[in-house]
Symmetry: D2
Subunit: 141 residues, 4 copies
Amino acid sequence: MSDDPQDRAQRAVAALYGPDRASQSLGMQILTVAPGAVSVGMTVREDMTNGHGICHGGFLFTLADSAFAFSCNSAGEATVAASGQIDFLEPVAVGERLVAAGRVLWERGRQGIYVVDVMRADGTLVALFRGRSHKIGKTAS
Amino acid sequence: MSDDPQDRAQRAVAALYGPDRASQSLGMQILTVAPGAVSVGMTVREDMTNGHGICHGGFLFTLADSAFAFSCNSAGEATVAASGQIDFLEPVAVGERLVAAGRVLWERGRQGIYVVDVMRADGTLVALFRGRSHKIGKTAS
Amino acid sequence: MSDDPQDRAQRAVAALYGPDRASQSLGMQILTVAPGAVSVGMTVREDMTNGHGICHGGFLFTLADSAFAFSCNSAGEATVAASGQIDFLEPVAVGERLVAAGRVLWERGRQGIYVVDVMRADGTLVALFRGRSHKIGKTAS
Amino acid sequence: MSDDPQDRAQRAVAALYGPDRASQSLGMQILTVAPGAVSVGMTVREDMTNGHGICHGGFLFTLADSAFAFSCNSAGEATVAASGQIDFLEPVAVGERLVAAGRVLWERGRQGIYVVDVMRADGTLVALFRGRSHKIGKTAS
């Protein structure tokens, strides 16, 4: 198999997305893949709204967390989230199309720090995510 | 209507849970209600698993975020999350029953800070959440 | 030497405080020591004020971070901070006496999560800190 | 007086740095100023070391917090930190020269989110900071 980082990232993300029932059941699609940087799309559904009638913050986090997971697993080593932090910037309505763009900020040994921008189609930021990753040592693909 | 804080908390939580399609579609139930402290239950389903075969961190966050939302809205004033932070402590498997217990740490004016412990039925911690809330000025119930 | 956890905590904290020039030059004192829970005192000095004339947030963090460090090193294994998060709740004036009370929330293997309440003498909270610790494997005392 | 954003940023930062005894007593210098983005330098002193003999994390936070404060006050409106989060990436030794480069990520109304990279002279990251700011409504300069 190819050792090209781009090929490896695409294989690793496909291998992780295949069995990812959560991301799939929420209608997420992989939009772009590069080593350490994956973006994911999702449209907000009726069943994602909270008691205030807007998108439940949990689904904004889940979208960002998926982009984070695909980004930090893109080198093909099984990696999990140790923690995540999100700032909610704007309310998001049903039907809105969102893109979560993840990228690595720093990595050394088993530890990594990633950020994810969650945006509307027009580029408006709706949430900012930062996560800390931890490699668990198995090879994912 | 009663001005008793416990009565008001129960009314406010019921009013917020009623239209909360997200929490309901994920199978969350309100377990206990006190002023500033609400606990919520959820069982991890097959469609909540990620590519590593364990519960997607996004659903642990969403469960905690719901407990946070019910806790910080329990005084009857519409309140939203400004930010949330979660530490993932242990992997969670399909079929596990989780409880998220929220409570206020601090509140002044429109600002509040809440914590949520996410536990298995036996009390083992699986995630720790902390959120910052912001009152938006309308009365929720 | 005694294997009593309380004795060990007192030895470990004394061994760490002795060469800690930062905590000492800021006038911090160890107030109470228990396994996993150490409180530290400090009085805000003129040279700790920022351009708004109040205590620079960095010194509130530093006080909390010291209480965190003593708490997470109290078992005698060298442990460092991986990350820290602080919410600033109230402005603090010159001359105010502060107490930072740390305690462990969770620990497993090399990882730990600690919280620190930073309070005035009357118990008013002025800042809330949460940190993630990482054991580095050497024995500190 | 000039309404040019760059002139205003330089005036606002100078007005805040002048009475900032904390930043000055720690030997911080303002390196570069642009609207929403200020970098600050500091050399680690003997009295900044902790019990492990390395720079106390509190001083890395304080350096980042100063860069954050100057960045978020650079429009001339008095602004304070609501919260700050730091990831410690590498130990820092006495004598090392550090630069903290702050910049705005997002701002709306009274709220803002800023990041600060803390680096060695060679550009190596030693800490990553993110803060949430809150305008308090007075004009700083």
